[in-house]
Symmetry: C2
Subunit: 370 residues, 2 copies
């Protein structure tokens, strides 16, 4: 336990409420267990092996990663790792295939070209890789159309060793309405999934793994027939967006940015030392002018605008008048971005520093390919 006081640290400082974090992890572990879903948390949110180990200890079957740096770091903690990002480019492929031998790598793909490239590179590296076929469930980002899933799955199977066809994956990132109002979108995904599974069955390609899930829709994933696992990330900390969507309570927000009021010279506002470089600039919702963060104690008070190192707290609708030097804790719109902006976070119990949490998997694997 670190005995320094939080007050001794410079701001802006990302602060992790460890009690809330543990409750968030417990809740998701309980939910998935109750519904017979495997949980493969996405580590992009915390980028911390320390916290990933806590997720594994609570029964996670493995971890999900988006960058090679995340995969490299998480080999410390788990052997079953999913790279949920197309492994395009020889440098990226080489990084993945150079992982420790005991790491059981699984990769999501959405093109025949990437199947071929992976099969070739994995063959040369003498390493077997499990493959999930990524399907677009309506987000229109990556993933083959559901009708093309069987074709790609067949290409994976036909590639043979060292590739192993393991199933399908999708990301319902377009489900961004309130938890109560997700029914229609989830029903559409359920139908897509149903037809995809049927076409795979006809081709003799029943998927052992059907992987989906995000934090905003996490608590309704059991409504999707055939789903075997989920990959939420943000749930470990939650954030203002998650609270706004009803996927957590305000009291479940475990990550805040500790900031200091640095100026009250301009009327109607207080300026804090947390701007874009500390809070990120994620909108509360697409096209909504909802500010960039809110006070932990009173979410009606928000960061209205920002510069790189300045955040403007809007005081026009409150009688609260903080003084220069006061410290505030801000719940950011999007926790994953705040983590990515920092090398170290302060883990607290209540108001007391418990330990520093290094963001080990932040940054990029810069090593050039051999």
């Amino acid at each position: 336990m670190d005995t320094r006081l939080l007050e001794e640290f410079e701001t802006p400082l990302p602060v992790i409420d460890l009690d809330r974090t543990q409750r968030n992890m417990d809740r998701m572990a309980d939910y998935t267990r109750a519904h017979g879903l495997a949980l493969r948390p996405h580590v992009k949110t915390h980028k911390s092996p320390l916290l990933a180990a806590e997720q594994v200890r609570r029964g996670a079957v493995g971890l999900t990663c988006a960058t090679t740096r995340e995969v490299q770091v998480m080999t410390e903690v788990a052997n079953d790792l999913l790279m949920m990002f197309p492994p395009i480019g020889s440098a990226r492929l080489q990084s993945l295939l150079a992982l420790p031998a005991e790491t059981r790598l699984m990769i999501a793909l959405d093109s025949v070209d990437s199947v071929d490239a992976l099969a070739r590179a994995a063959g040369e590296a003498g390493r077997s890789v499990r493959v999930l076929v990524e399907v677009d469930a309506g987000m229109k980002r990556v993933g083959v159309a559901p009708g093309d899933a069987a074709t790609l799955a067949r290409a994976v199977r036909d590639a043979g060793a060292p590739l192993e066809y393991t199933g399908i994956a999708f990301y319902p990132g377009h489900v961004r309405s309130h938890l109560r109002e997700q029914g229609d979108q989830l029903a559409t995904i359920d139908r897509l999934l149903d037809s995809t599974l049927a076409s795979l069955a006809r081709a003799g390609l029943d998927p052992p793994i059907v992987s989906g899930g995000s934090t905003p829709a996490a608590w309704r994933m059991h409504e999707l027939t055939g789903l075997t696992e989920v990959r939420p990330g943000t749930y470990i900390f939650n954030d203002r967006i998650t609270a706004e969507l009803g996927a957590c309570a305000w009291e479940d927000c475990a990550l805040t940015v500790l900031a200091t009021v640095i100026s009250t010279a301009v009327a109607g506002q207080a300026v804090v030392d947390a701007g874009t470089k500390a809070l990120g600039r994620e909108p509360l919702a697409a096209g909504v002018d909802g500010g960039y963060g809110a006070l932990l104690g009173d979410p009606s008070i928000m960061v209205r605008s920002m510069s790189e190192e300045h955040g403007i707290l809007d005081l026009r609708r409150t009688g609260w008048r903080p003084r220069v030097g006061d410290r505030v804790r801000l719940v950011p719109n999007h926790a994953c971005i705040v983590v990515h902006l920092n090398d170290t976070m302060a883990g607290v119990r209540g108001e007391k520093l418990d330990r520093l949490i290094p963001v080990v998997a932040r940054g990029r694997a810069l090593a050039a390919a051999p």
Copy 2:
């Protein structure tokens, strides 16, 4: 010189065109010299002592910093350092006052409370500090009203040693129109400055330094009567916003994010591996839906939307069809944010890697106060 090829590196990778960077530095050095303005570049844009040294070599009188980490790192390169951020909080004050003895520190302030706190702490540290009174020139962020500048300047003078009243500073960050259309805003600032200088003169507080300047308005700073120095930052790299405002040509954009096309599975778009965590999410202009970056070779092709690790290139208005595996270079909206997202950048000459550039002043000074 680093002999590795750019192709060997994983993407996303921030790439600095060193020839363009040098031209940008030369141009600003020439402009300020021609107009008798001192140049004190803001290092927040590059956070690199290597590049700061190049600015100093071209005649910069000192450097401007926004964080204690930036100040700490830049002591390697220059002795005359301006902390252009209110030094609020004991941890921040202690970090500043613990700088090497040969560092001549200057700090901008906007409240009597901060004058008192600084005077006390500097006295205890036995260190003299030059003080600029920060004036709000219309941005409404920090800074006293022009009419209150003399009062605060008097407080600094009356505090006496170890504080030394050195002048005033302002940041015209609200001047965000095209270079051609800034006339009215600059005339307003000129009038504010005029009355501020007159009231300071009446109080016997003529400011040795009158410091202003930003990149969007950099090339018209000579229109402000009484200005003695400027503090632009972005000009060293420029970016899509700067080009859009006419403060640089597209060919002057020296920072790009090298990205790989990772999916073309969804029609009308190509997905690259540079999203919010590589490009930042800065808008092109307030309230404008202008995407988050554009192709170096063809700025009409832009990053329409992003996830954390995905950028969606809009191909609806072009016949260009990149293939999975192709690499592209993207000019980000705001260079300073991209730098802040990375630990290392690749400095290139043409298409060849010249050397890696560590972003040494990235991140925060986490050390607790003693």
